[in-house]
Amino acid sequence: MSATTENLAPAVPYVPAAETIGAVMAPGERPPRPSALSASITFGWRAMLKIKHVPEQLFDVTAFPIMMTLMFTYLFGGALAGSTGAYLQYLLPGIMVMSVVMTTMYTGVAVNTDIAKGVFDRFRTLPIWRPAALVGNLLGDLLRYVLASTTIIIVGLIMGFRPSGGILGVLAGVALLVVFSFAFSWIWTMFGLFLRSEKSVMGVSMLFQFPLTFLSNVFVEPTTMPGWLQAFVDVNPITHLVTAVRALMAGTWDTGEITWVLISCVVMTAIFGTLTMRLYNRK
């Protein structure tokens, strides 16, 4: 740290000049306020810049899904479906949903870090559309979701996944997953706003996401589960999402499940988006 600081120090120490500072403060023409959309896009640009400067953060959304896909295919494949190849056709859409949904917590972690570092204080004293900072982050999230999905599909294809829905089916499945993840990430944004540290955001999200993703139809059909568990699996939104994505990738269009997923997205956004904005304004 100090070494780099030394290098940056100019040979001639800086002496503030009243004239130059006066010149930059001269009340020139004030531009009009940016629109809500333009402010959100600017925050999206920031999210992209942060990924550019800290590319390590993409490691989690690529390495983790690859590991999951490999692990579960070879671990359960033989036992559950007779062969890893057959199991992969069933597992891959589910593991994609699981991995991408798990990365939604980074939204909350990012918000929490921004708050801890004081950057949000500056944004919140600007006369801009208030949700812009949070909405702009969605753009960075989009990149993460698409990257994680693409990674898994490529690994799947290499391992022998052959979706009968073709490219369109796969794209439709990913699109539905991305929409769901946006809605779902409001939960972590909310936690990110009021939990003390990024560690606690991660802790809480793990606590929710593990049961939510494992107690679903990601790995097996729920038919062999005890009744009480089946009841939970049936209302778990992840189950509906997995069913819908599986169908889309297999080339069928399960209107019932897709509707179920979209309605749950609206409900989550309405509840957690509102709570989040209230916390954000109150903070």
């Binding site: 780099t4 600081t5 800086y14 503030p16 000049a17 500072i21 009009p32 942060k50 006369p127």
Partner: protein, 333 residues
């Protein structure tokens, strides 16, 4: 809107913010005139940051009222945001991004289109001596550079009121002087600056008026000169040649200056406060006259003085005197 032109930059009455059982701000009454540097002086935990955050619309007060140029910070928060800027106690720039990117981001959020935003960023970096570091990530900046970038970001929109929350805490002396020069340059442009600090000499150097706060409320308010004269116009330090003469010297000083005299640990040293009339920020003529009279009386009494000095009381002494008092209400001049 009509009152905006004549209203004080800040006006609070009975402002309160409670965190759990801590009354961080507890009945704060402030009036900050527009167009100058106003110092808010207080020790760690006095409630400075909490007060600034309420005034900058970041925190909602639990009770009381606060107006910025006549606008209510709660009900007209958005309008207030158009007039103020905050440089927080903890850096409010993005560490992962470069200096240029930080400023372009802000310029865009303030409505500048891309080319003007870029030009504005370059202009600010130049004025703040950061051109060489423009394309480095802020996490590689020194504390002073980071602080300058933070202030540059705050004046990007030429605010009418700038909050600087402990802008020099943790900086080396040179960086601190740079920040002081920047503050002086900013206020010349007509921007009102609310400066919080724990450093008494900082408030003394920069502020036209100072509010001393402790436990969330104002315990004294006035110009630096007024605050100082409230505890005396100056301090006389004497060193005698002969420690045996100290008792005589003490008697002479006490008679001439009409104040208690303090005998220092050093057996030849004495200290006494001189009460002046407190009309001038600069060293009081009354104090100097009294001191020279004391010196000639000492000489007449045959007491040999080796060393003599007359100094202004530091704001440190002011602060200690104020917070020591059991009835702080009468502390203000």
């Amino acid at each position: 809107m009509i009152q905006r032109e004549t209203a004080p930059a800040i006006e609070t009455s009975g402002l309160v913010k409670v965190f759990g059982t801590t009354r961080a701000v507890d009945g704060l009454d402030l009036t900050v005139p527009a167009g100058s540097v106003y110092g808010v002086l207080g020790p760690n935990g006095a409630g400075k940051t909490t007060a600034v955050r309420m005034l900058a619309t970041l925190l909602r007060p639990d009770a009381g009222e606060a107006r910025v140029f006549g606008l209510d910070v709660v009900r007209q928060a958005d309008a207030v945001r158009g007039l103020v800027s905050l440089t927080g106690q903890y850096a409010s720039v993005d560490e992962d991004m470069t200096g240029t990117e930080n400023l372009i981001l802000l310029a865009r959020l303030l409505g500048y289109r891309k080319p003007p935003a870029r030009a504005r960023a370059a202009q600010l970096l130049d004025a703040f001596g950061l051109t060489d570091a423009a394309d480095r990530q802020v996490k590689n900046y020194s504390g002073g550079m980071r602080r300058r970038l933070d202030i540059a970001a705050s004046i990007l929109n030429t605010p009418r009121l700038l909050f600087l929350d402990e802008p020099t805490t943790g900086l080396d002396p040179r960086s601190r002087n740079q920040v002081w020069d920047i503050i002086r340059a900013v206020v010349v442009q007509g921007t009102t600056v609310l400066l919080t600090t724990q450093y008494l000499d900082e408030a003394d150097h920069l502020a036209a008026r100072i509010a001393v706060i402790d436990h969330g409320h104002v315990i004294a308010e006035g110009t630096p000169g007024e605050l100082k004269s409230s505890i005396g116009a100056g301090t006389v330090h004497l060193r005698l040649r002969d420690p045996g003469q100290r008792q005589d010297a003490e008697r002479v000083l006490a008679r001439v200056l009409n104040v208690p005299v303090q005998l220092d640990a050093d057996p030849v040293a004495l200290t006494a406060r001189v009460i002046g009339d407190g009309t001038d920020r600069e060293l009081d003529m009354g104090a100097a006259e009294q001191a020279s009279r004391a010196l000639s009386e000492l000489a007449a009494a045959g007491i040999v003085v080796d060393d003599f000095s007359l100094g202004q009381p530091s704001l440190d002494e002011v602060f200690l005197a104020l917070t020591d008092r059991s009835t702080p209400a009468d502390a203000a001049a």
